[in-house]
Amino acid sequence: MGSKRAGNNNEIMIEIRQMNKWFGNFQALKEINLTVRRQEVVVICGPSGSGKSTLIRTINRLEEHQQGRIFVEGTELTNDLKNIEIIRKEVGMVFQQFNLFPHLTVRNNIMMAPIWVRKLPRSEAMKIANELLERVGIPEQADKYPGQLSGGQQQRVAIARSLAMQPKIMLFDEPTSALDPEMIKEVLDVMRELAEQGMTMLVVTHEMGFAREVADRMIFMDAGHIVEEASPKIFFSKPKEERTKLFLSQILHH
């Protein structure tokens, strides 16, 4: 929980107000209000199709919202490409399917953003890549191609690749769902460490053990709504909403 980490800052990192999103006529997100503060770890859960991915993808504009306002670090997400660029530099994202670039070595995957977005010299980008690979525990894989790594290793490279941007916020969309059970832990360990170092994180996951341990706040979504928002302690012991209870009973007694 938040108290584990140094400094409990009140600065707002993400602010979403009355946001609505439609895919054609289908409303995927309804009246979303959400505030995330610096160094907070927010875990989002909910049944399939409830709009979790859509929610975090609107935060770096992989999806466009139609109503309401979204601020990231005080910059509003609008159609202004400048703002989108600024925000994407601040926000890193890790996908369920890793999405590493198969034609580049692991090191070059990580170096791409520092070189082309942060405009760093090559040697510096290389240094960053090596440090990050060290940090996620696979320095020896630097010159391999993604196809040669295991799923867990690939996801750790993907995390390193996002961190190379030195983002202030990290979004995780079910980072462990595509992994075999024995690889889940190595990825969660990296994420846990990241949280301890004070990264602001928004995590969509069904790993309730991880959530209980690391999250500062739980969010439960259903049918496009944020149904319940609570600290993990309350969320897991006495949830208010019926739907949350049902979901938890299904996911925990499995």
Partner: protein
Amino acid sequence: MSGEIIGAVPPLEAGPPKMNIGVVGWIRMNLFNTWYNSILTVLSLSLIYYTVTSLLNWGVRLARFTGVKPEDCQGIDGACWPVISDNWAFFMVGTYPYELRWRPLMALLVVVALIMLAVWPRIRRMRLYQLAWLVSPIVIFIIIKGSDTFGLSQVDTRHWGGVMLTVILSVVGIVFAFPIGLMLALGRRSRMPVINILCVGYIEMIRGVPLITVLFMSSIMLPLFFPEGFNLDKVLRAQIGIIMFAAAYQAEVVRGGLQGVDRGQEEAAMALGLSYWQSMVLIVLPQALKIVIPTMVSSAISLLKDTSLVVIIGLFDLLGIANLVLANPIWLGKMFETYVFVAAIYWVMCFSMSRYARRLEIRFSAGDR
């Protein structure tokens, strides 16, 4: 910096913003979403307008449909469709004797009837029905070629032509090329060096040269290979060339399928004690062939288009008939009508097959999951 940074948000109307849905929304999103897309849309619309109106003017408004006499077409700006209607039978069956044209028609009826019957799954599963398919090529051949035993007078293949010849060349081509291709594909995978080299050599040689050289080979060189006095019919020679050509391509298609089957399948079959041929016929080939059915339909489409090359060696397939019609002084200058019509026939055949292939592909990929 603490607390809320956003003030009150204006109350919301229900439903998605108007500009994103409905016809108007669709048009905005897909046709006018940026300034250059708007320009492209306007350009495309004018191109479509121009093409469609000039085609309609030529093909319908200014065209002559009836007026059986070719002279009626003189001095018009539109199409002269009598060139098609007058030569209809010609386009369909070539110079097949006039009084015997009921025979190709009957062959067609046999095929159509067999296809229609396939609609009922119960009939489709009947032995008799499957047998009918098996013997249908022979029946059709006898109907078209004629046979003294059945009291049908012989029709020389010189008189075969038009759509009939195109279809015969392609169907027979595929049917015979398939087993040869299958053998070649197995040979190419074989670990016996001699067989491997023979098969690879054949496949790569045929695939490396244009079809027309293969057709020249079969029509000019083949007669040299046989003893004096052994006469091979011209259509048959072309057919042999087409089969030789198609077999090499079929081999590659089948090989693709064989590569798609997990090695483990073959090993499992061997482990069960099946012989090479048993494991191939019972285990590997059924899976491999299922994967490649869509590709096989595509290669059938290519073959259908490729049969048009037989014009160059003097056969009168559909394209050959088009040239023959145009060579007739009565129909001089009716090139657009003739080529457009012939192109339309090819197009309908190829396009429907390609749609069918795509449907199969979707069905198979859905079945895999």
